[in-house]
């Protein structure tokens, strides 16, 4: 492994994080929250000190292989969260470091699971940082670095590969760096549109920006205790519903639309399935929730928000769906298992994986009947590579194993089985809230530290799609070494 190069990249990453924190520092000073400002200042100073020291490391070779890329991504995310949690601990807003780390990892991984019980007590500067972590984590920390730093070389694909979700990793344009810039431009433009639309709905600017951060990244942190339901505005709910769904769409489609290739954008098979599943589940859950809500339209209002929130793994809620009938609640857990499109900011297993699994399963069944027939799994009318299918299957297997192991570990918290399952699913798929104790009305605060550590790891595993972490863990424990 090229350790010098890895540490140098980490150094650059820390400098970038310090730069991002400056925004929160300004907000703190603007609102005269000096405790928060000092805490953020100390963090920025330490980030800069360590970051500059690391970026000075001399590299013998600039060669970067896949394993180096995975190690950088994993370490960078761990470090980002480690330093990102510091301001909360220093200022005393979240006194315990494990809690703060959970909260910030939940931010960067765009999970949105929170241990904060009283949101209004958090200083605005720190709250801004908490929401900003989501926005940056949504499109990817490294993708951001690739876009802003002149570090792109031929091997930078290894970096992006680890961070951009989905079974196939495509570039929009030939150059890695232009791809990263294009992705962020689309991301920023859509975020700005959302801020404007939210402001038009009489939401204060600060809240509009922070809620946009949390929507765009499909993160789902609430900003105020009264939450989104507190605005009591159907307009705001609709705007957020629509944008949650839009940010769960593969960004490649937006690029196609921007370059005038409408036809190809709208013919994208994954996007069609994605909207199909979303609308189907909205109606289904609305029907099952009629007994509680009274009318279909009222139920549809809540269910459409809830489904687009949970399917895109955002995790906002405007009602306590814990009070819905059992069938609705069960379906809600199911929705949490779906995820958005590949190449979007959403988490979860991704629609395209589900399509691939479904189609290859059907092929497998057909092959059992007619063993000699030759068939290919097709997506967007193009044959899928067998490697991609195999990768998808193994991803789902790994996903299941991690769910099972986490369930086993969190089980020691003595929650009811349903709550345990939903907490684990919710964190691993970066959704945020679950059912019961960790439901929309509850929080993760009551869990034991051990469970919080397990769930923190789950969030990171989910966001980086499992393999980078497993691989770098293996590489760092020298398991893989013997093969290289």
């Amino acid at each position: 492994m090229n350790y010098a190069m890895i540490f140098q990249t980490l150094g650059y990453g820390m400098v970038v994080e310090a730069g991002l924190m400056l925004f929160s520092l300004f907000i703190s000073l603007f609102h005269r929250e000096f405790d928060g400002a000092i805490a953020i200042g100390i963090t920025i100073a330490s980030l800069l000190a360590v970051g500059f020291a690391l970026s000075r490391i001399r590299t013998k070779s600039r060669q970067f292989y896949a394993r180096d890329g995975f190690a950088v991504v994993t370490l960078l995310w761990l470090i980002f969260a480690a330093f990102g949690a510091l301001p909360f601990v220093i200022s005393g807003a979240i006194p315990n470091y494990v809690d703060a780390y959970f909260e910030i990892m939940s931010g960067f991984t765009t999970t949105g699971a929170s241990i904060i019980l009283d949101l209004d007590a958090i200083p605005r500067g720190l709250m801004f940082w908490r929401c900003m972590t989501q926005w940056v984590g949504g499109m990817g920390v490294l993708v951001f670095m690739l876009a802003v730093l002149p570090m792109s070389n031929d091997s930078s694909m290894h970096l992006m590969r680890a961070e951009v979700p989905g079974p196939t990793k495509g570039k929009l344009v030939p150059r890695m760096r232009s791809t990263a810039v294009t992705l962020y431009l689309i991301y920023v433009a859509m975020s700005i549109i959302q801020v404007i639309l939210l402001c038009a709905g009489k939401m204060p600017l600060y809240e509009a920006i922070t809620y946009t951060f949390n929507t765009a990244s499909t993160g789902g942190f609430f900003v105020t205790n009264s939450a989104i339901a507190g605005y009591d505005s159907i307009y705001i709910e609709v705007v957020i519903t629509v944008f949650m769904l839009l940010f769960g769409v593969n960004f490649y489609c937006y690029y196609l639309i921007l370059t005038g290739k409408w036809k190809r954008a709208f013919a994208n098979e994954e996007v069609i399935w994605y909207f199909g599943i979303a609308i189907g589940m909205m109606i289904l859950i609305a029907v099952t929730a009629i007994p509680k809500e009274g009318s279909f339209w009222k139920a549809l209002r809540y269910s459409s928000f809830t489904v687009s929130s949970l399917m895109t793994t955002t995790g906002f809620s405007i009602n306590d769906y814990n009070l819905w009938p059992q069938v609705s609640r069960s379906l809600i857990i199911f929705v949490c298992l779906l995820g958005g499109c590949a190449g979007s900011t959403a988490g979860g297993p991704k629609t395209s994986r589900l399509i691939i699994m479904w189609k290859s399963l059907l092929r497998e069944l057909r092959l059992m009947i007619r063993p000699r027939s030759v068939e290919q799994v097709r997506m967007d009318a193009k044959p899928m590579e067998e490697d991609t299918i195999r990768g998808t299957v193994y991803f789902m297997i790994a996903h299941m194993f991690i769910l099972a192991i986490s369930y086993f570990l969190v089980a020691f918290d003595n929650l009811c089985p349903e709550d345990t399952v939903s907490a684990v699913i919710s964190c691993l798929n970066n959704v945020g809230p679950g059912i019961g104790v960790v439901g929309p009305a509850g929080s993760y605060a009551s869990l034991s530290y051990f469970s919080k550590v397990v769930l923190t790891l789950d969030m990171l595993l989910g966001r980086l799609e499992i393999f980078p972490i497993l691989l770098s863990a293996m590489a760092l424990t020298k398991r893989i070494r013997s093969y290289h």
Binding site: S152, D154, M157, K171, V173, P174, R175, E385
Partner: protein, 457 residues
């Protein structure tokens, strides 16, 4: 520039590798997803899987808005078709790799009618490269224009050179008008010489000529003492054909050894002046019998790299002066140089180089009418290639009557695929390809820029 490469083979990959480092935006098209995956893992490029000739695939790769399409699959026809499709879609320029001599001989037609800007023939470039190595000392700089039909050589007049002290117009070969001295560097100044220019020791002269004239010229001014006379080629491949043709045109005695009787017969037909030997080239006895000891140039051109190398080592052991081996796959130049083999010629590398050079020239000439550009004498002067269009100011005016700016020379003209060094009475016609030599400070953008303002119509 936005460049699309069709064909992710050895050449395609190494072209992509070079051009990606030079900062171009590359998209690769190929049918094989595995090779594409390898490429995308190693290079910062975009890959599109599909048939290189397919319109939809080309559109997906963005050919309609690209500056250049490079077709380098192993099939000539595929390459040419891909280029034609790309031109129709709107690619600004196209390069095709063609290896069939039939296709190579119709370069002019391909350029004018099918819109293929540039063709590269790996075997032909390899033959030309080998021929240069045989004819010139390694220190001499040689560059080519018009697809190898015109050579530009730069060399230093060392002590004892017969040109020293002579006036330019007094040199016998120059008078015949077949060789042109394009630029001379003396100290830090570069001049485009006129007839009364006198050569001094230490001058670096740039000479332009067709390959066979260049050899005669070099021999006449005795800068070459060790140009090979007797050449033995083992392996009757396509390169051997091109090479034997060129070498025998220059008056060298060429012998080709090949193991396949049918191929030998074919070669005898195609190469009348060349001695063809039917025998096993890997057999020491055959080689010695055919006079290995009397040859001063040995070239291993068999299909197998290892055999070429071993044979070349054998030849250099027997004291053959110039030994050249063709290598396709292996590339360990450091080790091979120690074995006494003077030169390794790799068709793949040559193809890559000439494509990359073309792209660089394209980049230098973007936004003007310059077709190609070569920098001469350490970038102090340049050779520019223009196509003469109907807008040309002085059609059919003899060169000696043209009001050229000072330090400008008409270096060479290519008319309907035939190249020549123009004389005073020659004229420039529409459709000609013209090489202009000029000082660096001019920066011509159009062929009409070479004339004095006052003289313009």
């Amino acid at each position: 520039m936005k460049i699309v490469i069709a064909g992710d083979g050895k050449v395609g990959f190494s072209v992509a590798e070079q051009l990606s480092q030079e900062g171009h935006d590359l998209t690769m098209i190929d049918n094989r997803s595995e090779t594409l995956r390898d490429s995308i893992n190693q290079l910062d490029i975009l890959c599109v899987q599909g048939d290189v000739c397919n319109v939809d695939v080309q559109m997906e790769a963005g050919v309609d808005s690209c500056d250049l399409l490079i077709a380098c699959t192993s099939q000539d026809e595929t390459n040419l078709l891909a280029c034609m499709v790309a031109r129709k879609l709107g690619a600004a320029q196209t390069i095709a790799r063609t290896r069939n001599p039939q296709h190579t001989s119709m370069i002019a037609y391909l350029q004018e009618e099918l819109g293929v800007t540039f063709t590269v023939n790996p075997e032909l470039s390899a033959a030309q490269e080998i021929s240069r190595v045989l004819r010139f000392p390694a220190a001499m700089q040689i560059d080519t224009l018009f697809g190898g039909n015109i050579e530009i050589a730069e060399y230093k007049l060392a002590e004892g050179n017969p040109m020293i002290g002579e006036k330019l117009m007094a040199l016998p070969h120059l008078q015949k008008g077949n060789v042109l001295v394009g630029a001379v560097q003396r100290g830090d100044t570069v001049t485009i010489p006129r007839g009364d220019f006198e050569f001094r020791e230490g001058d670096i002269a740039t000479v332009i000529a067709r390959p066979e004239e260049m050899a005669k010229f070099c021999a006449s001014i005795k800068i070459l003492r060790n140009s090979a006379r007797n050449v033995m080629i083992v392996g009757g491949s396509r390169i051997a054909y091109y090479l034997a043709q060129e070498l025998s045109r220059m008056g060298m005695h060429v012998k080709i050894v090949d193991i396949d009787r049918a191929r030998c017969l074919e070669l005898t037909e195609m190469l009348p002046g060349v001695q063809i030997v039917h025998g096993d080239g890997t057999d020491q006895k055959v080689l010695l019998e055919e006079g290995l000891l009397e040859t001063d140039g040995f070239i291993g051109l068999m299909g197998n790299d290892e055999q070429n190398l071993i044979l070349s080592m054998f030849a250099s052991y027997y004291g053959v002066e110039k030994v050249i081996a063709k290598v396709d796959h292996m590339n360990y130049p450091e080790i091979l140089r120690r074995t006494g083999i003077e030169t390794i010629v790799s068709p793949k590398d040559l193809t890559t180089n000439s494509i990359v050079r073309h792209v660089r020239a394209m980049q230098n000439t973007q936004g003007n009418n310059v077709e190609a550009m070569r920098q001469l004498v350490r970038d102090q002067a340049e050779a520019l290639q223009f196509i003469v269009r109907s807008s040309f100011d002085y059609p059919d005016v003899p060169l000696m009557d043209l009001p050229l700016k000072p330090s400008v020379l008409i270096g060479a003209i290519q008319r309907k695929g035939r190249c020549f060094i123009p004389k005073g009475r020659d004229t420039i016609r529409e459709g000609d390809n013209v090489i202009i030599l000029s000082g660096r400070d001019y920066q011509f953008k159009d062929i009409n820029d070479i004339f004095q303002e006052s003289g313009r119509k």
